[in-house]
Symmetry: C2
Subunit: 297 residues, 2 copies
Amino acid sequence: MLDCRSVDDLCAAIVGLAVRGAPALGAAGAMGVALAAATGEPLDDAARRLKATRPTAANLAWGVERALAASDPAEEAVRIAADDVARNRRLGAHGAELLPEEARVLTHCNAGSLACVGYGTAIGVVRAAHESGRRPSVWVDETRPVLQGGRLTAWELQRLGIPFTLVADVMAGSLMAGGEVDAVVVGADRIAANGDVANKIGTYPLAVLARHHDLPFYVAAPLSTFDPECPDGSQIPIERRDADEVAVIGGHRLAPMGVQVENRAFDVTPHELVTAYVTEEGVAATAVAALDAAASA
Amino acid sequence: MLDCRSVDDLCAAIVGLAVRGAPALGAAGAMGVALAAATGEPLDDAARRLKATRPTAANLAWGVERALAASDPAEEAVRIAADDVARNRRLGAHGAELLPEEARVLTHCNAGSLACVGYGTAIGVVRAAHESGRRPSVWVDETRPVLQGGRLTAWELQRLGIPFTLVADVMAGSLMAGGEVDAVVVGADRIAANGDVANKIGTYPLAVLARHHDLPFYVAAPLSTFDPECPDGSQIPIERRDADEVAVIGGHRLAPMGVQVENRAFDVTPHELVTAYVTEEGVAATAVAALDAAASA
């Protein structure tokens, strides 16, 4: 159990990926503002530092802003966290209807309960399909460099009793070409107004491959991941992370000393490659439609 | 230095990847037959065991057959090894002409001198461009699961003084979308009569991405990699390897115990996605043209 007693503690936990995943970052951002209020730190400065930890993450900024705007940041943070599971269950139920019986779903990174307060978004879709008796199975991308798929998604699916097979990320093409995938379902870190999606590095190649093989590519994300202020993917800041995430694993060097490494944490999938957006309010073909459905809900 | 004193020693070295890479396997296969002849092992049985170590590798079977058909297998094995560097230099010179000045080349796996007796095929192309003053640079895919890119290609390029940047395989889409790649150059483990290419798992996604971004996708391989007996990629046997190549690195577990893993060593890139084949005899648009050029050379 990680105990964050200051905004600095929380920022370090976020940078170190102890807390990660879009919806979880939303709750964490709000909690961070509440923490600043409780400890007497200036809220504006805390908000700025929190948002700077993961610049790509829309939910983080959303959670911070929600708490800043609330009369009682702590109450608002608790509400966001409490809402998360219910929202994800609704999202999952909508998404499950997109999957055929015994769907073989390919997913990337971890958009499961460990990325949220609970239940999961992309994994929530699989989970809802599993709970309704549709018997889905999952190809789990290990998700280099940080291996959120192999470490987190595999662990979650093992506990849930949902059949899955772990693969190196490079296997996706072979699986699709072999007719072994029915749908790709991923989460998102930020969705621009035009529907362009920033998500874990390696998502965009899956979208291109899915299109090449005429497979559906679904983005499962709560409405808090949509950023209507951001016109398109070119305006989404892409976080670059440390070279050693690529060059070292568990103290074991994977490349010669001194090599130059480029390590982008996210890539952008253009909206044209997204078959549908799955939110807590339903399934929408475009980001505009997803936000409209929310506004009229 | 690894000293193989029997066909069993050599088979173990090949299975354990101490000897790997298409051209190197061609020489090793021939050496294996020569070793059987020298130690008095039955040649047919040695040939069968050698070929079974890496079923996808065309060069391995080619080297074995060449030595079997020779009156003096040892002499033939030495000739194959001695020819390899000269062939790769010619291949490299042909390929270099395809690259613009300051080309940013993306490559996968290791098709360098460590995959050959010397010089390299895909890396031979980059090397020839470098030697002729064209100042190429390389994006080196780390190449999960065995990391031939991060461990071998990075080491070779570092020694050669050719600028390169190591990336996780999942970065290729982001690099191409950002206009940061001019060409993809890869090696091959077997090329079918119709031009379909078996190469390291993850090659096919690069070909799909290259096509999506209108970038050239070049396959650099000596003629010994072409298998005119194999009609198309569907007939190429794809080697499956141990789960622990994915789940463990250097004794460090990357996934929960007991997870199911699918670990294919190769994938198949359909000939439609190959811009050109680069061999020691020149550059050809199709496999048939490559073999014709060889026949008339």
